[in-house]
């Protein structure tokens, strides 16, 4: 495991270099923003709406004292969504969706000698293949998470509309109460770190594949597992560093 971590660091040393041709890099970056970000918009929106709705219902269910105002539901939904659900849960979902895609794409390129072809041409293949994905995720994932926050809050609002648990008025007052902009900064910082972890780990797992289809599948699984574990670990570390 230590030698694998060493290999990961060694590969990242080669990945984070100036691209061979900036014009080609810009083109790839736009493509990856589309592939990794825009194509994840649907799943992000759906999960976020339901996440916000569930948090709203659960909070309403737990408020059984008349001394606690119902506006606390909106406040709880906002805090939960911004601090944890959007940055962490959506990143975990993206680790599954994007991570497996990256590992299998690069892994297939490895086993079909496409990476060797790049190397033969004198191109830094790790930089060419992984760097645009990492930078695209760093740029687009915070946007996805902000959108997710919006959909999460909308989910809670829909509960207010379609149930009698609390009113939309109470919910909106709660959402607006005691807002600290720092929580958004905290969420974005976490998202950027998670984006780096997902893309670099998945890129590494794909890049070092040896064998055939079975190994590509295994690499894809490893990419998701390790990305998820690292997200959970770094979630704790970053929370301790940024909120304590």
């Amino acid at each position: 495991m230590i030698s694998r971590f060493g290999s990961y660091l060694f590969l990242m040393f080669k990945v984070f270099r100036k691209p061979d041709k900036l014009r080609v890099y810009r083109k790839q970056l736009i493509l990856e923003i589309y592939n990794l970000g825009i194509e994840s918009l649907g799943i992000t929106a759906i999960i976020s709406i339901f996440m916000g709705a569930v948090v709203a219902i659960q909070t309403a269910y737990n408020i059984d004292s008349p001394l606690i105002p119902l506006s606390m539901i909106g406040f709880t939904v906002r805090q939960s969504v911004i601090l944890e659900f959007s940055p962490t849960i959506i990143s975990l979902i993206l680790a599954g969706k994007v991570g497996s895609r990256i590992a299998s794409e690069i892994g297939t390129m490895r086993v079909t000698e496409q990476i060797d072809a790049l190397d033969i041409m004198g191109i830094n293949s790790s930089n060419f293949l992984i760097f645009p994905k990492v930078s695209a995720a760093i740029l687009i994932n915070p946007v996805l998470i902000i959108i997710s926050m919006g959909f999460g809050l909308m989910g809670g609002y829909f509960v207010a509309i379609f149930t009698n648990l609390f009113s939309t008025h109470d919910y909106i007052i709660g959402v607006k109460s005691w807002f600290e902009a720092y929580t958004i900064f905290y969420a974005i910082m976490k998202t950027i770190v998670f984006a780096m972890l997902i893309t670099s780990i998945s890129g590494f797992e794909g890049y070092v594949v040896k064998g055939g289809a079975v190994e590509v599948g295994a690499a894809s699984t490893r990419a998701v597992v390790w990305s998820s574990i690292m997200i959970i670990l770094f979630n704790l570390i970053l929370t301790q560093l940024l909120l304590s």
């Binding site: 390129m109 072809a117 033969i120 041409m121």
Partner: protein, 247 residues
Amino acid sequence: MIEAKNISKSFGDNLVLKNVSVKFEKGKSNLIIGQSGSGKTVLMKCLIGLFEVDKGNIYFDDRDFSQMSFNERKNIRKELGMLFQGGALFDSMTVEDNIMFPLTMYTDQTMEEKKERVNFCLDWVNLENANRLYPAELSGGMIKRVAIARAISMNPQYLFCDEPNSGLDPQTAGVIDELIQRLTQEFQMTTVVNTHDMNSVIKIGDTISFIYKGELWWEGDKEHIMDTDNKELNDFVFATELTKRLK
């Protein structure tokens, strides 16, 4: 000319190449032959720098490739084309983009100039009007021809072909052999072909290096390979019913 001097390569305790010294001449199709597992693919991968040699030197026209850094090797790599066994075309790109790729990375040509070069290369491999196709839409023979077109797009001095005929019917294999031969002679390239196809050996083997258990066992050409008394080479050459009958 490409020259390997006393190169050795091992993987763990397994010594795959043992002190191999071999020369590949300009304007000739230089064939490396040998059984599966003999070390011929490792030799080729060492020559092109995909594997680092443990010992020895590799010279591309007196330039010591084995001692160069990644960036220093770039200049030689720009002069080098490679045809992979499976073609190794980029799946996400069209035929045109595949051939254009090295030009985009290494030249400042305009799109018009690049397209002209792409069409020239496609004409060469008899694949006019295939520009917009994706690799998944091509047959095995077409993939090999596009791979050749990509390999020659930068007008290389050195061409490496790894099992160019594997998976092809004899007729298509013959077409690929002819293409390699024509390219080598017309552009005076140093061509190294890794094969175990005896048809290729007889047809284009200007020089032949037989690798046996990681050692250079025999050197010669297509005129002499059929009447050598080297036992291991004879076992390899006359392994099929067809070649046995020819003998």
